[in-house]
Symmetry: C2
Subunit: 173 residues, 2 copies
């Protein structure tokens, strides 16, 4: 990740990444299918964890409460130890159109997965899709704040604040 940030994603070879990490290229490929996986390898586990939290939210939870449970589950992935990595990752992705596209696709998939999980809880369309998209809106905005250089609040605090703001915005007259 440091290498991507230093010399650019396109210019970074797997051999250089492996060397920096103290691995052989062969060992690297045991962990990652390709160098894109270094950036996106965690996204499926994240999605599974968020969907599971949504499915496990308290019976009778509103759509947005179930979404809030999914967003809270992501905090396990976005702890202080990973903030430095996440900051560099965000900068690398912002600088590379292809990676940015991939990030948008992952978010669209996450949104669809959350909508489906809301459907399984009995929420009809368009409510399920609307709540899922609203959740992704909160997630994107909160995550962007969390990786900002001057930001010190935890991901959990920021996500809760963003969700509260969305509610306030939606009800403002």
């Amino acid at each position: 990740m440091e290498l991507f940030a230093e010399v650019g994603y396109e210019q970074t070879t797997v051999a250089a990444i492996a060397e920096r990490a103290g691995l052989t290229s062969r060992t690297f490929f045991r962990y990652f299918a390709d160098k894109r996986e270094v950036l996106f390898g965690g996204s499926e586990v994240l999605q599974e964890s968020m969907v599971a939290a949504l499915a496990g939210a308290a019976a009778g939870a509103t759509a947005l409460e179930a979404i809030a449970a999914a967003l809270a589950a992501a905090s396990e992935f976005f702890d202080e130890k990973r903030r430095g990595f996440a900051r560099q990752r965000a900068a690398v992705i912002a600088a590379n159109g292809e990676l940015y596209e991939r990030e948008l696709i992952k978010l669209a998939r996450l949104s669809a997965a959350l909508a489906e999980a809301l459907g399984a809880r009995g929420f009809d369309e368009p409510d399920a899709s609307l709540a899922a998209e609203a959740g992704i809106a909160v997630f994107r905005v909160a995550f962007a704040q969390w990786v900002r250089k001057t930001e010190r609040r935890s991901y959990s605090i920021i996500v809760d604040a963003s969700l509260a703001r969305l509610k306030t915005l939606a009800t403002a007259v």
Copy 2:
């Protein structure tokens, strides 16, 4: 557009599109930079129109009211005459990964433009980004309903209903 739907986007040549439209390839290129432009050529005009409507919303409008004005402005582009085209376009895009990525990027740009316009109206972050993303959420869900085969309601009606649902979801306890 019919051609994209019939034989697939990849397989459709500019010559075939021009022939179907009764144009020479040369005339085609006077209107469109390439065949992708047939699908995405309108997105900049749409964005400008939505941003202008947001900027021109009544003084004292809340963030979501200003977003509602932007969403309403899009109705001029999504009238009954264009529903058939929009349906085919949606099917073509859903079937082609590259086009789908482009669609996601256009929506991300639209979201950023709306957030900037809210900033210009005096809304701080993260409110501006949150309201813009929530607006895109409503837009995506409403548009997907509008192009559904069995849907008969107008885009305006659907967008208003979606916005109302979002408010209800956000306030449900």
